[in-house]
Symmetry: C2
Amino acid sequence: MTGPTDQAQAELLDPSTERGARAMLSHLVEAGDHTLSALLAADPAPEVLARVLSDSSPEFGAARLRAARVDTRASAAYAIRQGISVLMPGDAQWPDGLIDVAEAPVCLWVDGPLDLSRLRWSGVSIVGSRAATAYGRDIAAGLAAGLSERGYAVVSGAAFGIDVAAHRGALAGGRGGTVAVLAGGVDRTYPAAHGPLLAQVRELGAVLSESPPGWAPQRHRFLLRNRIIAALTAGTIVVEAGLRSGSLNTARHAATIGRPVGVVPGPVTSMLSAGCHQAVRDGVATLVTDVAEVLDLVGRMGQDAAVRPCAPAAPQDLLSPADQVVWAALPIRAATSVDALVFATGVAPGALMAALTRLELAGLAARVGADWRRRAS
Amino acid sequence: MTGPTDQAQAELLDPSTERGARAMLSHLVEAGDHTLSALLAADPAPEVLARVLSDSSPEFGAARLRAARVDTRASAAYAIRQGISVLMPGDAQWPDGLIDVAEAPVCLWVDGPLDLSRLRWSGVSIVGSRAATAYGRDIAAGLAAGLSERGYAVVSGAAFGIDVAAHRGALAGGRGGTVAVLAGGVDRTYPAAHGPLLAQVRELGAVLSESPPGWAPQRHRFLLRNRIIAALTAGTIVVEAGLRSGSLNTARHAATIGRPVGVVPGPVTSMLSAGCHQAVRDGVATLVTDVAEVLDLVGRMGQDAAVRPCAPAAPQDLLSPADQVVWAALPIRAATSVDALVFATGVAPGALMAALTRLELAGLAARVGADWRRRAS
């Protein structure tokens, strides 16, 4: 994204256009309104706007109160001055993933160059507890960096704890970029401590919100914001979550619309991993422990299948169980007789001689006269 | 178990009895021998013993070599002097769980008072890495103690790390007792450092082995011993396991015979939890985090279902989502007008008044003249 076009800016100031009407509606009606979503799915936004503003719809009483008090045109002009653009369904940059959201966003206020349309296929949401431990923050940053290195964008909510670790890891990864979905306006720095981080995200990735610039992050907007985080990407990873963590709410949103959910396990002594463990036990999430397993979960079919981790095999591990028994019975220093080996292993003499010959060929046993010893592998 | 009866002792010295022949066979043929198991399933042990000792069966050549060298009668007499008894299929104390083992033990050498027959229904195997971390040892001891307190016996292998922590925890729990399954003879103290522990287990629980007293613990006997640990109990819990841990071998044995397998998660940064995590990802094990969840996995139907953990709910959590929005918008100190609330929440005036009334009835909102504020819950 290279900033809003002149045409999009002109539309934004004109409520008779689809974009201008949607921008105005996003001031008047709270995000996640089911009635408004249904109306916008059926009719052009200028018509819907007219209906909302008419006295005939009591459910939009609050919208008319706001319309009388908020200068939505000034708000749009401010957004243009700030380089904030408004995306709407049908735009090339409109995120593919939002198609599954029941209460679709009326529009998105966006600040930053990252192309949002690709998040559905090469974006991963990483969320978790605000009160994260050092363990959780390290894992979140490591996963985000690894995903970013492989070209995946990391989406999160810019909150304390896991969110900010994920954004920072993604920026460090350097390739995939990162997207912060805010509960208030994209120009609001919340929490205040994350000002420098959000400035970086605006410059290198994108900050977006359903709420217009300047709007305060409020409790219910946080919950609604979670459905956007879940819907934008190919899948959601929860790094640390207590039993009632808001990040489990994000995970449920993802599962509801059929997106894979991964959770990172942790010590069972940590209440901040309890929500993750329960999600695995409930069958709503897959346990993931590293970037490869995250890619296996969310990755593009046939491209990112995780290599199953395994420890390197020792030569004797490749032997049959019976040959292993004989190998284990061979002394390492002094050699021993076939009779003694028969006695020690319980393997019949003929089978034992055959096993010794196989071990000799494999370089794992050596003859010393008539006796045998193990050979260093 | 109150020690072997006089009759059982007499049988042990007489290879023409089922018990005596099986005890002798356990000296001559290594544990886990499929041919011997099949023969014993079809014919009385004295007949099988005669066949093994006859020259007509080349697969038992090693057994005849051993028969010429080992004084099995002296070994049986030694066992009797030590208070070690020999259990065989058909005995009241024979463990129910062994019925599912393909290569059934020929007999079990047992030292200790614990009734082995009940392990199938009130025993849990706890296994894991020898190189366990403090985290793993604490969890193993805690699970074992909790199970023991609830009357469950804990079965393990007396190895360093998780095994010994499980035995100690079970002894501390005080009720269920503990059983050590050894790879060598029950009188062998292996590892040597666990002498005092094994003495306690012999006194309060049971030590058992497929191998006769005095026999050395050998590599292949450890692997075979795992199938006994898995088969004895209602289920197996792996606390810490690297990717190639022997305790995963025990878990596979348990899964093969249809016994539930639980694994305890840990930090993804610990290679000692990697095997546990992989078992969950592979779908062969259930993630468990506490005693209740272990009981849920292995427990007697209808008796031990785990209470799903949940954090306590705050009063406002019981509100509908719409009422929560209004509650969150209420100021805590100064009161605010209905108009301002309509503006802040986007909720229509009629719906907002209804919500405020509900909140007032729930004790969560208070009127101040015409204004409203939040009430401390």
